[in-house]
Amino acid sequence: MVNHRISGIAISKGIVIGKVKRLDFDKNQSELRALKVFDSEIEKAKFAFAKKSLIFDSERIIEKYKHKEKIKSIIESELMFLQDEELTNGVNDLINKGNRCEIAIEEFFANYIELISNNGNSLSKIKVNDIQFLKHKLIQDINDVENDYSEVKNRIIITSLLDTDEILKIHENGAIGFATEYGSNLSHSSIISRSLNIPAVFGVNSLLGLVKNNDEIIIDGYLGNIIINPDNKTRIQYKNKQTQAEEELKSYQDYKDSHVRNKNGAKIKFYSNINNMIDLENTLINNADGIGLVRTENLVHEIEEIFEEDIQFDIYNRISESIYPKTVTFRLFDFGYDKLNLNDEKEDNPALGLRGVRYLLKNKHILETQLNALIKASINGNVKLLIPMVTFTEEVIEIKKIVAKVSNELNIQMPRIGTMVETPSAAALIKHIVKESDFISIGTNDLMQYFFAADRNNEHVKEYLDYSVESFIHLLSKIKKVCNKNDKELVICGQIASDEESLMLLVNKGFQSFSVIPARILFLKKTLLQ
């Protein structure tokens, strides 16, 4: 397989090219099968011992976290799993049929995962992840002393999943990057990878089936991509990208603390857009003026997280604390269309379908769970909310009512609420909408595609999506005029602000606030200052 590209979750930034070292904690199965001596009683004892030591660990953790409901309940369900007779009987049956304990566990879990995957609904993804973790722990416990980290030096580690201890051991032994099949952006492992500055991508589906030992591989920790056996051209491209990223970072550092002003002397503000925790780190490194847009739907990777207020609160709170005293604007979930789509029925035209505020108003339980978490995090005083995909003024009014209700229940002051103008209707209604909003943000990517009736994901109509066309700039200027008159801040989001020519045009037209990907901020400052 040459130049095969797969994507996962961007965990820790950086680009690295190198040879693969697989860590099959699950041990080489054919090797195990070949071992001649087999005593089913010994195998059963090995299994019972591993189970016992995990049960002991779980009980210890439950005791330690007895006041943390969330952690406790997760470990409790693991404990129940370990104590389940079906597990013991199932594995022992397989051992009785002549399988070694590791193989019996492997088979039991493989059968079980197949069974629940066949039930194939949105729940199975969550469960498979939980169950893989448990299998991993059991097999690791059995193989514990045999893990060998001696061959990881200067290699890229590919494995099913990594816990924090493993990451530290692998790092000490000189590995240069990781990719795993499981794991998420919020795990301790991802935090450790970032703090060690090792490029990492987690959650790559069927990774182990695709990559062999000694394959050459590229990890792009910025975008969460991996490329297996890159051809020469791709390799050179990434090497350049890597050097460029490093050099650019250095050359822009001079602009970190400089201010850009327009011809009237007003300060130009650069906020950042955030999709993940790497973007948050880059926001701080590049000294953004605040966070202009958190795409909250990109922060949740598991369906369960959408329903868990505590998990959401942890993420929102971490972001608002990190950026304090600067402000952060959280856009309410923008599900649907090309983002996480929870709609049960397939839509012929998802771009014109149930998305953004339309979805939230029809699924108020999701909206209220998110608002509870956001408003609790707003106690830091620097949190603003943004309503996506507004078509009518009434939608803004209705959301504000719900925000007021939730704030009231929590006895927390209502955060400021802005409207994202991204439909032509909202742009036409700006006079009314601005009166109901504390600030306005223009989502130029969507506004352009609806304004020009040209799909932003369709290569064939890309010439219709031109930032600099007079009609579009005129529309933006009209919105600005209304905002200025009402003394409301206007922020420009989307690709238009990252494009240096369009940015200069907008600055000359008097626009002052922009929200862009954080890695672009210093480059744009430099461009404007030259």
């Binding site: 309940s73 409790e76 389940d84 079906e86 079980y112 069974l115 194939g120 609904n121 729940l123 209220e368």
Partner: protein, 89 residues
């Protein structure tokens, strides 16, 4: 022996946590309990079994409970499903 049906009303369905809550409940009692959904029948005291059901929002589960404390267990199960496991409905 008693038999009855319940419907999953919490939005996220019977994922790990509600499944664990259910098994914790059934394990307190002496009676035997079996759950059936779409022709699959599992032991209601096994978390592995309950999770195999992959019960989503709106799905119906048939319970069969047999033993000296069957009535108490049935009442508690019905209440638990009705409350949506304390999760968003």
């Amino acid at each position: 022996m008693i038999e009855f049906e319940v419907t999953v009303v919490n939005r996220a369905g019977l994922h790990t946590r509600p499944a664990a809550t259910l098994v914790k409940l059934t394990s307190k009692y002496k009676s035997l309990v079996f759950i059936e959904k779409d022709g699959m029948r599992i032991n209601g005291k096994s978390i592995i079994g309950v999770m195999t059901l992959a019960a989503e929002l709106g799905s119906t589960l048939s319970f069969e409970i047999d033993g000296i404390d069957e009535n108490d267990m049935a009442a508690e199960i019905k209440e638990l499903f009705k409350s949506g496991f304390g999760e968003p409905i």
